[in-house]
């Protein structure tokens, strides 16, 4: 199963890059002109994201550097320990929705210190792999089209992060325990 999916992942992109233009050429589409025409939009989209991403990254970086996050984690730790969540993975749960690079660094740090096959290492890997960086996704997707009022989108994203975090911990405790 794992091998099948990895093979599929390796083949899919090159296959798409060839299949789409070939199919289009067959349908008499001027492929190169069509490509250039569509590609033009990519630059503007990326530029439109800059202010949104800069704003978010500044706030998140400040929060991490000030040490306020550590304090929050320490305050939450007794509560988490009460329901059986190892305190070592809690910072990861809080970093995950905020910063992809930051949480990946923290996961690596946990794997390095506790070993990839330890319970902490497995839980950290599962948390890191099971959700995406909510704030980043929101910033990039909505920033690209100029949405200002995000309504309930952030609440839904953060709620699913919490559910995913708790699920990851207990699934690992159950399966590897």
């Amino acid at each position: 199963m794992y091998d099948l999916i990895t093979t599929l992942s390796i083949w899919l992109i090159p296959a798409l890059i060839v299949f789409i233009p070939l199919y289009a050429a067959f349908r008499k589409v001027p492929v190169y002109e069509s490509f250039v025409d569509g590609a033009k939009g990519g630059f503007d989209t990326a530029i439109a994201i800059i202010p949104h991403l800069v704003g978010m990254m500044v706030a998140i970086n400040m929060f991490r550097a000030s040490g306020a996050m550590e304090l929050m984690v320490q305050a939450l730790q007794p509560l988490m320990a009460g329901i059986g969540i190892p305190s070592e993975v809690l910072p990861l749960g809080m970093l995950r929705p905020l910063t992809g690079a930051g949480s990946l660094a923290y996961t690596t740090h946990l794997i390095e210190n506790y070993g990839p096959d330890s319970m902490i290492g497995r839980i950290a890997s599962t948390i890191q792999g099971s959700t995406d960086t909510t704030l980043y996704v929101l910033t990039v997707y909505f920033g690209a089209i100029g949405i200002r009022r995000t309504r309930y989108a952030l609440k839904v994203g953060l709620f699913s992060d919490v559910v995913g975090f708790v699920a990851a911990v207990f699934i690992c405790l159950y399966i590897f325990g």
Partner: protein, 224 residues
């Protein structure tokens, strides 16, 4: 809500840093953050330009329309207010497939393209539609079959079974996605429920009523 989180993160940081004497570090972190924001955006230019070019070819060839009409009932269920056969559905499909296969740098351009198509259906260009919120929910919890980066890291640190987390990750990501879809549905229903003062004549077509009635819930959402 985004406004509040942003303001809170920065205010807490500065106040906290003032007490712990980390003000300089926080200032430095702020500018480093700004730099990261620009670097990441610039990194997106190449992928966005390339994939948007390729996807335009697919659109011109009618592939996306075809994909959109072939859609599974699941996507119809998730995006009831997107017209049948709309290219947005085709992009949503490609975005979801790319996510599932872990093709991160292809998933983002397709997701953005889907958002741009959904924006064409949006009467108020600055407020997210329910369909946009659903697409975002699917992407924040993104179902992934193989977390390739993590397997590589685990291998690096000498794991005996680097891929043993594939199953747990899949289970956790599925649960997170279901939670996201349910929460999204719940909020969407709540946003659609017309305020008690709505006229009777407008409730013939629920999607339209929802657009009209979206202002009060939206104002609510940003305030909380």
């Amino acid at each position: 809500m985004v406004n509040w989180i942003w303001l809170l993160l920065m205010t807490i940081s500065v106040v906290f840093a003032a007490f712990t004497g980390k003000l300089e570090a926080v200032t430095q972190a702020a500018f480093e953050g700004a730099k990261t924001g620009v670097t990441v955006s610039f990194g997106l230019i190449s992928v966005l330009v390339f994939w948007m070019g390729i996807m335009r070819i697919g659109e011109d060839a009618g592939l996306l329309r075809k994909l959109a009409t072939l859609l599974s009932p699941l996507v119809r269920f998730l995006f009831p207010d997107v017209p049948k056969g709309h290219p947005a559905l085709g992009y949503i499909m490609t975005n979801m497939s790319a996510n599932i296969l872990g093709l991160g740098n292809a998933a983002t351009p397709m997701g953005i393209k889907a958002m741009q198509e959904l924006q064409k259906l949006n009467p108020d260009k600055e407020t997210a539609t329910p369909a946009m919120c659903t697409l975002l929910a699917l992407n924040t919890s993104s179902i992934t079959l193989v977390p390739t980066t993590l397997i590589a890291i685990r291998m690096n640190y000498g794991s005996a079974h680097p891929a043993e987390i594939v199953g747990t990750t899949l289970l956790a990501t599925a649960i997170a996605t279901v939670a996201a879809i349910l929460a999204d549905r719940w909020y969407r229903k709540r946003a659609m429920r017309p305020p008690t003062l709505t006229h009777q004549g407008t409730d013939k077509r629920p999607p339209h009523t929802s657009e009209g009635a979206s202002i009060p819930p939206a104002a609510n959402g940003t305030a909380s």
